[in-house]
C-alpha cells in the first residue's frame, strides 16, 4: 500500500501537493442465460416485468436455487484475476427495504466470498505498469429498477433485472491517479471480456463502479474516504475522481475535515454531491441465508474450469512480443480486445508479424476509429488484409498502391488479387518502360539534373516524378537504381 510516491501523480493544491488514493468496487453482470437464483432469462431489452419468475418477485414460499453457470463464471473470473478460489463460500442476506428489492433483502456474500485475493497487471500510457491488488470477488443479486418518469404521481417497478447475477470485484486502495483508475477498469473489462464472464457493456449498466476516493499528503496515513456510487463510464470514473479529489483538497487546505459519506457524481454539473452520511448509512443486518446451504465444490471442479480458460491478455501480449517480434506497445494495443488479437493473429499467420501489426494497427484500426466502428464490424477481413500484405511482399504492388487497394477493398470488397489484376495496379518492373519515363523527365528538366549532381537529395524529386509518370506502379527499387545510374549519383 505504501509504494514509493510518484511525484508525477501528485495533485497540486493551493498550498501543498496531494496524493489521491483510490479503491474500486466494480459490479459486473455475469454473462449467463438465467438469473443467479431463478430460471428467468437475463436478456436485455424485454418489456418491463417480462422476465420475472415467482422467486424474483418474492412470492410467499418461494426459494432460491443457485445457478451453477453463475458459480462457474465467478470461478473463471477469479482464475483470470490470479485469485484464490474459496472451495467453501456462504450466501448472506443484506436486509433493506426498497420497492425494486422484492425480497426485502439482497442475497450476497459477506464474510465468506467465493473468490479471495488476486491481482491485475495494469499498463499505463507511459509504458509503466502497476499491479493492483484484488481483495475479493463475490456473487450477489442485482435489484430491479424503479421508474419515476412513467406517471405524475406514481413510481413503477421493473423486475427484469431483479435477481440477475452480479460479481462485485473489490480492489485494494492501490490506485494513485484518475489515469490509473481508468486503466484499471479498462484492463479489468478486457479480462472479463476475454473470459466471457461479463460483456463489460457500461451503457447497459452491465459494468458499473463504486469509487472510493481519499487524499493525503505524501507519506501520511490514509485520509477519510468518500464513496462515489454507481459511476457508469470509464470517462466519468476519471472525471469523478478528479472532481472529488479537488473537492477534498479544497476542504483540507481550508482547514476543514472530510466526512465519510456516500456521494453521487453528476457528469452534467461536473460535481459530486452527498447522498448519505455515515450516520445515515444502513444497518444491513447481514446474516447467512438459511434458504441456501454453503456453496461447496472440489478443487477438481476449479481445475476443470481452469483448463477451459482462454489465453488471457497478459499471456497473449507476451507471446505476441516473443513470437512475432512486436514492441510491447503494439502487442498491448492488439490484445486490448480479444477480437482484435484474433484478427491480428489471422493476418500474421505465415506472414511477417511486424508488417501485419503495422497494417492492423495503422491502417485498419485507424480507419475503424475514424468511422467509430469496432473490429467486429470491419469490412476488410483478415484474409483480405493478409492478401494485400502478400501482394506487397511479392513485389506485385507498392506500399502506396497497397493503401489504395485497401481503400478499394474497404469500400467495395472483393479479392485483392483479382482487383490488382483487373484494374492494372500491378507494379511496373519492366525497366524499359521505367527507363523511358526517366529519360523523358531528364530531358525536360536539365536544370534539375545539374542541381542533382551537386545535391543528391534531389533524387527524391525525380523519384516522385517517375512514380507520377508511371501512375505509381513503378517498382520503387528499380526506379531508385535507374535514377542513380542515369544521374550519376552514388
Amino acid at each position: 500500500m505504501n509504494a514509493p510516491v510518484n511525484p508525477k501523480k501528485l495533485i497540486k493544491g493551493g498550498l501543498h501537493d496531494w496524493e489521491v488514493v483510490i479503491g474500486m468496487e466494480i459490479h459486473a453482470q455475469v454473462t449467463s442465460r438465467s438469473k443467479l437464483f431463478s430460471g428467468a432469462p437475463t436478456a436485455f431489452g424485454a418489456e418491463p416485468n417480462a422476465h420475472v419468475s415467482l422467486v424474483d418477485a418474492a412470492m410467499p414460499g418461494m426459494l432460491p436455487v443457485i445457478n451453477e453457470e453463475c458459480v462457474a463464471q465467478a470461478i473463471r473470473t477469479g482464475l483470470g484475476l490470479k485469485a484464490k478460489i474459496n472451495l467453501r463460500s456462504v450466501f448472506d442476506r443484506k436486509n433493506y427495504f426498497y420497492p425494486d428489492l422484492p425480497q426485502g433483502y439482497q442475497i450476497s456474500q459477506y464474510k465468506d466470498p467465493i473468490v479471495g485475493e488476486g491481482e491485475v497487471l495494469v499498463d499505463l500510457a507511459d509504458g509503466e505498469s502497476i499491479t493492483v491488488g484484488i481483495e475479493r470477488l463475490h456473487l450477489e443479486q442485482d435489484a430491479g429498477k424503479s421508474l419515476h418518469d412513467q406517471s405524475p404521481n406514481q413510481s413503477f417497478v421493473d423486475l427484469n433485472r431483479s435477481g440477475v447475477a452480479l460479481m462485485e470485484i473489490v480492489s485494494r486502495p492501490d490506485l494513485r491517479s484518475s489515469e490509473e483508475a481508468r486503466a484499471y477498469v479498462t484492463k479489468l473489462r478486457t479480462i472479463l471480456r476475454y473470459l466471457g464472464t461479463c460483456d463489460g457493456d457500461m451503457e447497459k449498466g452491465n459494468l458499473r463502479a463504486d469509487v472510493n476516493v481519499s487524499v493525503r499528503r505524501p507519506g501520511e496515513p490514509l485520509g477519510t474516504r468518500c464513496e462515489i456510487k454507481n459511476v457508469n463510464s470509464i470517462r466519468f470514473i476519471g472525471q469523478a475522481i478528479e472532481t472529488e479529489a479537488r473537492r477534498q483538497i479544497a476542504i483540507l487546505e481550508d482547514g476543514g475535515k472530510i466526512d465519510q459519506e456516500t456521494r453521487l457524481f453528476d457528469p452534467g454539473k461536473g460535481e459530486t454531491r452527498s447522498m448519505r452520511s455515515k450516520e445515515e448509512a444502513h444497518d444491513y443486518r447481514y446474516f447467512p441465508d438459511p434458504d441456501l446451504l454453503p456453496l461447496e465444490f472440489e478443487q477438481a471442479y476449479v481445475d476443470g474450469l481452469a483448463g477451459g480458460l482462454p489465453e488471457l491478455p497478459d499471456a497473449k501480449k507476451a507471446r505476441f512480443v516473443s513470437e512475432f517480434g512486436l514492441s510491447a506497445y503494439d502487442a498491448g494495443v492488439l490484445v486490448a480486445e480479444r477480437a482484435s488479437a484474433d484478427y491480428y493473429e489471422a493476418v500474421a499467420k505465415g506472414r511477417d508479424g511486424k508488417a501485419a501489426a503495422n497494417w492492423v494497427i495503422n491502417e485498419l484500426f485507424g480507419r475503424l476509429n475514424k468511422e467509430g466502428r469496432g473490429i467486429e464490424e470491419t469490412p476488410v477481413s483478415a484474409a483480405q488484409l493478409g492478401a494485400i500484405i502478400d501482394l506487397i511482399g511479392e513485389g506485385v504492388i507498392s506500399g502506396k498502391i497497397a493503401k489504395d487497394l485497401f481503400e478499394i477493398v474497404w469500400t467495395e470488397g472483393g479479392d485483392p488479387r483479382q482487383i490488382v489484376e483487373a484494374r492494372g495496379l500491378k507494379q511496373v518492373t519492366d525497366t524499359g518502360a521505367i527507363e523511358a519515363a526517366i529519360d523523358a523527365i531528364i530531358a525536360q528538366n536539365p536544370d534539375k539534373v545539374t542541381q542533382a549532381k551537386e545535391k543528391p537529395t534531389l533524387l527524391g524529386w525525380f523519384v516522385g516524378q517517375t512514380m507520377k509518370a508511371t501512375g505509381g506502379k513503378a517498382n520503387p527499387a528499380a526506379v531508385n537504381a535507374l535514377l542513380k545510374s542515369k544521374l550519376g549519383i552514388e
Partner: protein
C-alpha cells in the same frame, strides 16, 4: 355404524378400496361435519366444490382400479401452504385475499397421490404462536373442554386449526408445520398424533416461511398409522428447495408395526423442569414403563445444553422471521395501505397488516441482527445450536435409538388465560419441542392419557436424523398401550 368422518384415515382408505362407500360419500360426510363445526373456527376457508370434484375423480379412478395411495381421502390444509387458485393467508391480514398461482410442494404431492382438499385451516399468524390466539381471523376453539366447564380451551398452536379439525373429525388428517413445536404441541393438546419429520424430509417450496432453518412440514392425524401414511406422500426430494434432501422416502406405514423390542429409549434428565406438574411426570414414567413392557431398554441420558435451547430459539427464529417477512411490503401483492411516500406506505401497510405477536418477533429479530448485537445474540445462539446438536449426536452415538419426553409442560389452557401475560410464559410451551427443531431432528407427539381436568396429554419421541421409522414404531407401542384417545362428544354440532 360409525359416521364416515369418524373413521381413521387407514380405515377410510381400506373402505374405499373395498368399495364399502364412495369418495363422494366420504367427502360429503366431512363437508356436513365441518359446516356444523363453524363454532370451532378451525377452517378459514371451506372448499366443498373442489372437494366434491376431486372425490368424483377419485371414484372414477377407484372404479378403474387405478386408485392412488391417498385416493379419495379428505384432508384439511394449514393455511400456510400455498394452494393454486385458493386463497392463502398465513393467518394474517397482510395476505388477506392472496391467491397463489402455484401449489406448494407438499400439497402437490398429496393431490398427486389422490387426496381430496376440504379447505384451509386456521393457524397462528405466520405460524407464530402456541395457542392459535394470534390468528388475524379469530382463535380456533378446541373440541376439548375441561370436566364440568364450558370455558373455551385453546387447541395449541400454531397448527391449532389442523389439530382441532382432526380431533373434531372435520378431516381424516391435516397438513401442519412445525418451527418450534407447532405440530407436536397442538397434537398433544388435542389428543391427536403429529410428527415433525427431520429437517429436509419435506420440501419447503410453496409454504409461507417463518424461520427457514427450522420450518418443517408434517401431518397431524388421529393415529400413528395415519400419520405414517400421510408423511409417506408429503415427503420426498425437491430440487426447488436446496435444503430438502435427496433421499428416497421409506415405507413409513410398514415401520408402524415393527415393534420396539431391542430398542434403547433415552430419558433425558434435563427435561425434568422446575414446576412441572406431577401428572406430567407420572405420564412420562408411565410411557417409559409401557415401552419397557413392550421390549425396549430404558436408559437415563443427559442432554446438558437443553436449558439454553429456548432462549437460543427465540433469537434464531425471530431473526430469520424478521428477514423472511420483509417481502410483505405492500408493493406487489397482499395488503397495501397508502402513505405520503414509500416509507409511509411501508409503515402503514405493515402496521395494519401484522398483528402484535408478529410485530414483536420482527422487532426482536431486527434487534438481534443489528450491528453491535449480532455477535452477542445471533452468533452465540448459533453456537448453542451446535452444542444442542452435539448433545443429541453423543447420545445417539452411545446407542440410544429414540428419546422419550413429555410433549408439553402442561395440558391445554383456556383461551385468554395466557394471552395477556408475559409473552415468555407462552413461549415456555415450546420448552420440550424447540430442541428438536434446533437440532433438525424428527419428533412425534402421541396421546398418552388425560389429566385430572379431562384434557389430553401427550408424550414426545425424538429420533435420529431421517429415522422417522423408529419413531413410528415406538409411538405405535405407546398408542397400543395407552389405547386410542376417545375424542369428546360433538358439543358444537
Amino acid at each position: 355404524m360409525t359416521e364416515l368422518n369418524e373413521l381413521t384415515l387407514a380405515e377410510a382408505r381400506d373402505g374405499l378400496r373395498a368399495k364399502d362407500f364412495s369418495a363422494r360419500e366420504l367427502a360429503q360426510a366431512h363437508i356436513a361435519a365441518l359446516e356444523k363445526a363453524r363454532a370451532l373456527n378451525a377452517y378459514l376457508l371451506e372448499t366443498p366444490d373442489r372437494a366434491l370434484a376431486m372425490a368424483e375423480v377419485s371414484d372414477a379412478k377407484i372404479a378403474k382400479g387405478e386408485g392412488r395411495p391417498l385416493e379419495g381421502l379428505p384432508l384439511g390444509i394449514k393455511d400456510l401452504f400455498c394452494t393454486h387458485g385458493v386463497v392463502t393467508t398465513a393467518g394474517s391480514k397482510i395476505l388477506e385475499g392472496f391467491e397463489p398461482h402455484y401449489e406448494s410442494a407438499v400439497t402437490h404431492n398429496l393431490w398427486r397421490d389422490g387426496a381430496v382438499m376440504l379447505g384451509k385451516l386456521n393457524l397462528d399468524e405466520f405460524a407464530m404462536g402456541s395457542s392459535n390466539e394470534t390468528s388475524a381471523y379469530g382463535n380456533v376453539i378446541s373440541p376439548w373442554r375441561r370436566n364440568g366447564s364450558d370455558a373455551p380451551i385453546v387447541p395449541g398452536g400454531s397448527s391449532g386449526g389442523s389439530a382441532a379439525a382432526v380431533a373434531a373429525h372435520l378431516c381424516l388428517g391435516a397438513t401442519a408445520t412445525d418451527t418450534g413445536g407447532s405440530i407436536r404441541q397442538p397434537a398433544a393438546f388435542t389428543g391427536t398424533v403429529g410428527i415433525k419429520p427431520t429437517y429436509g424430509r419435506c420440501s419447503r417450496w410453496g409454504t409461507v416461511a417463518f424461520a427457514s432453518s427450522l420450518d418443517q412440514a408434517g401431518p397431524i392425524a388421529r393415529t400413528v398409522r395415519d400419520c405414517a401414511i400421510l408423511l409417506g406422500s408429503m415427503a420426498g426430494p425437491d430440487a426447488r428447495d436446496t435444503t430438502c434432501v435427496d433421499l428416497p422416502v421409506p415405507d413409513f406405514e410398514a415401520a408402524v408395526s415393527r415393534g420396539v423390542k431391542g430398542l434403547t429409549i433415552g430419558i433425558p434428565k434435563e427435561y425434568r423442569v422446575d414446576g412441572m406438574p406431577a401428572e406430567i411426570q407420572r405420564l412420562w414414567d408411565q410411557g417409559a414403563e409401557w415401552l419397557r413392557a413392550a421390549g425396549a431398554e430404558i436408559r437415563e441420558i443427559s442432554l446438558p445444553n437443553t436449558r439454553y435451547a429456548l432462549p437460543a430459539y427465540y433469537i434464531v427464529a425471530p431473526a430469520e422471521a424478521s428477514s423472511n417477512l420483509a417481502r410483505y411490503d405492500g408493493v406487489r401483492y397482499g395488503l397495501r395501505v397508502p402513505g405520503k411516500d414509500i416509507v409511509g406506505m411501508y409503515e402503514n401497510t405493515r402496521a395494519a397488516g401484522f398483528g402484535r405477536e408478529v410485530k414483536r418477533r420482527i422487532m426482536i429479530g431486527t434487534y438481534v441482527l443489528s450491528a453491535g448485537y449480532y455477535d452477542a445474540y445471533y452468533v452465540r445462539a448459533q453456537k448453542i445450536r451446535t452444542l444442542i446438536k452435539r448433545d443429541f449426536e453423543a447420545v445417539y452415538a452411545a446407542g440410544v435409538d429414540a428419546i422419550l419426553t413429555p410433549a408439553t409442560p402442561s395440558s391445554a389452557f383456556a383461551i385468554g388465560e395466557k394471552a395477556s401475560a408475559d409473552p415468555v410464559e407462552m413461549y415456555l410451551n415450546d420448552v420440550f419441542t424447540v430442541t428438536v427443531n434446533m437440532a433438525g431432528l424428527p419428533g412425534i407427539a402421541v396421546p398418552a392419557g388425560l389429566d385430572a381436568q379431562g384434557l389430553p396429554l401427550g408424550l414426545q419421541l425424538i429420533g435420529r436424523p431421517f429415522d422417522e421409522e423408529t419413531l413410528f414404531a415406538t409411538a405405535q407401542a405407546i398408542e397400543d398401550a395407552a389405547g386410542r384417545m376417545s375424542l369428546p362428544r360433538a358439543w358444537w354440532a
